[in-house]
């Protein structure tokens, strides 16, 4: 049985409750135990552009919390995954930086030792739990659903740090989602960024990026989109409405998280998976579920 320290980050607990709820329920069904990290802090990603030491210390504190539990840390967000994984490997390789970080952490009686492993949700499902085990739990497979997977960036890159799979030809999310009976489709620029990171500095650019992705997905004939990161999900769901507004068009393409998709195909309830909290109405997904 797998057991993790669950790190939900700075956004999911209030902006994407559906991701947290569906993760908890799906993981429980799969027999994975999740221990909440009490009194956590930001992963440091948001201060990385400003101060490297502040970033490393914030990340180091989160990693140290998981170390105290003696557990690997499960991240649901791509940003947290890469920020923590990068800090973990950097601090392990740089004694001086590690000492600097630990000097600050000593104030809270904490220490970064580098003993935890940073695991992303997809990483955990595909590698730790395994596709064969997940398949056993799919009781209500989808039928005829054409699904476009969006991998996002920080599940895979920087690949030398994350060492998950080839970022130029990844298969994990497609293989995982195909278990639900959905037909996974390819589309142009499938592995490209969703545009979320430029939202604060240049929203029009983000909207331009997501609009292009949506057009590529629609021309490939998808019925819905599956994402694996809270920021990608907010871009494909919430910001889809903004793109519709800016470009005077209607896409209404349901975008759901991989855990929502898995939960539905495991027979879990639409409401329970937080599907009605999606901004783009996702009711039509249910038409593809087998009875």
């Amino acid at each position: 049985m797998v057991k993790y320290a669950l790190y939900t980050g700075c956004t999911i607990p209030y902006r994407l409750n559906s991701y947290e709820a569906s993760t908890r329920k799906v993981m429980e069904r799969l027999g994975a135990e999740l221990i909440d990290l009490e009194k956590a802090n930001c992963c440091g990603l948001y201060v990385e552009p400003a101060s490297k030491l502040a970033y490393l210390t914030l990340a180091g504190r989160v990693l140290a919390l998981a170390e105290e539990q003696g557990l690997d840390i499960l991240c649901l967000c791509g940003g947290c995954t890469s920020a923590l994984a990068k800090a973990n490997s950097y601090l392990n390789e740089h004694e001086e930086a590690k000492n600097e970080v630990n000097a600050v952490l000593a104030d809270f009686d904490m220490e970064f030792t580098g003993k935890t492993r940073v695991v992303n949700s997809v990483n955990s499902l595909v590698e730790d739990i395994g596709l064969r085990e997940i398949k056993r739990h799919i009781t209500k497979p989808f039928n005829g659903l054409k699904l476009a997977a969006h991998y996002g960036c920080h599940l895979l890159k920087p690949s030398d740090v994350l060492q998950f799979e080839d970022p130029e030809a990844p298969e994990s999310v497609d293989n995982l989602c195909a278990l639900t009976g959905a037909t996974m489709i390819d589309y142009q620029d499938k592995y490209e960024c969703c545009g979320a990171p430029t939202i604060a500095t240049e929203q029009s650019l983000s909207v331009k990026i997501i609009n292009k992705k949506l057009q590529n997905i629609i021309s490939a004939g998808a019925n819905a989109i599956v994402t694996v990161c809270p920021y990608c999900e907010l871009m494909f769901d919430l910001m889809q409405l903004e793109a519709e507004d800016v470009y005077q068009t209607k896409y209404r393409m349901p975008a759901l998280l991989h855990t929502q998709l898995l939960g539905l195909s495991m027979g879990m309830d639409f409401e329970e998976m937080g599907m009605s909290m999606n901004k783009v109405n996702a009711d039509k997904i249910m038409d593809y579920l087998s009875e």
Binding site: L53, D107, C153, P167
Partner: protein, 181 residues
């Protein structure tokens, strides 16, 4: 959004007297920027850039080129730096292992210290340190969590975060602009 918003700016000739020949070494002295001088300007970064394809002003090769040339002022204050989506595609594809995304972050660190960061980013960081969350939270958020069978919004370690920004010296950049007012 109007078309042509990202038009190529009219380029003035570059004058040697405006260049800072040591800028590249300043970057190479940082861990993130340490490989910058290995760039041979092949353009693999710009070719795969999801932002570069949609705008005329953000091209990773151009930023690296300008940095190598010593265009300190333009690179740090021009604003292009903040359009990078940090997707790491350029970094992964670079044949010279320049770690381009990391170089951009190193440049952002420099720009930040010199006070050229977009206010929106400082505000996010400030929110984070003061509340533990990236955006403002409200009581209705607990209600939505309850609907999904989740516990109340967890408490973040705000006190510890404030100690961290003080101890790492980050705090002086965070409130610099406000102090000036």
């Amino acid at each position: 959004m109007s078309e042509g918003e990202y038009k190529v700016p009219i380029k003035e000739p570059i004058k040697t007297k405006d260049l800072d020949p040591d800028f590249k070494y300043e970057i190479a002295d940082t861990y993130l920027g340490r490989h910058i001088t290995a760039c041979f300007k092949c353009g693999a970064c710009t070719g795969g850039c999801p932002v570069g394809i949609l705008t005329e002003i953000y091209k990773p090769r151009q930023i690296i080129g300008e940095a190598l040339l010593g265009m300190r002022e333009k690179v740090l204050t021009g604003g292009e730096l903040w359009l990078c989506a940090t997707c790491y595609t350029c970094e992964d594809r670079c044949p010279q292992k320049v770690n381009i995304t990391d170089v951009i972050i190193a440049l952002r660190n420099m720009a930040f210290r010199e006070g050229h960061t977009p206010e929106a980013l400082i505000e996010q960081a400030r929110n984070m340190v003061e509340t533990g969350w990236i955006q403002k939270t409200t009581a209705s958020m607990d209600k939505r969590r309850e609907e999904l069978g989740l516990s109340r919004l967890p408490k973040m370690a705000v006190e510890d975060m404030q100690k961290i920004v003080k101890a790492t010296g980050f705090i002086k950049y965070l409130y610099k602009k406000e102090d000036k007012k």
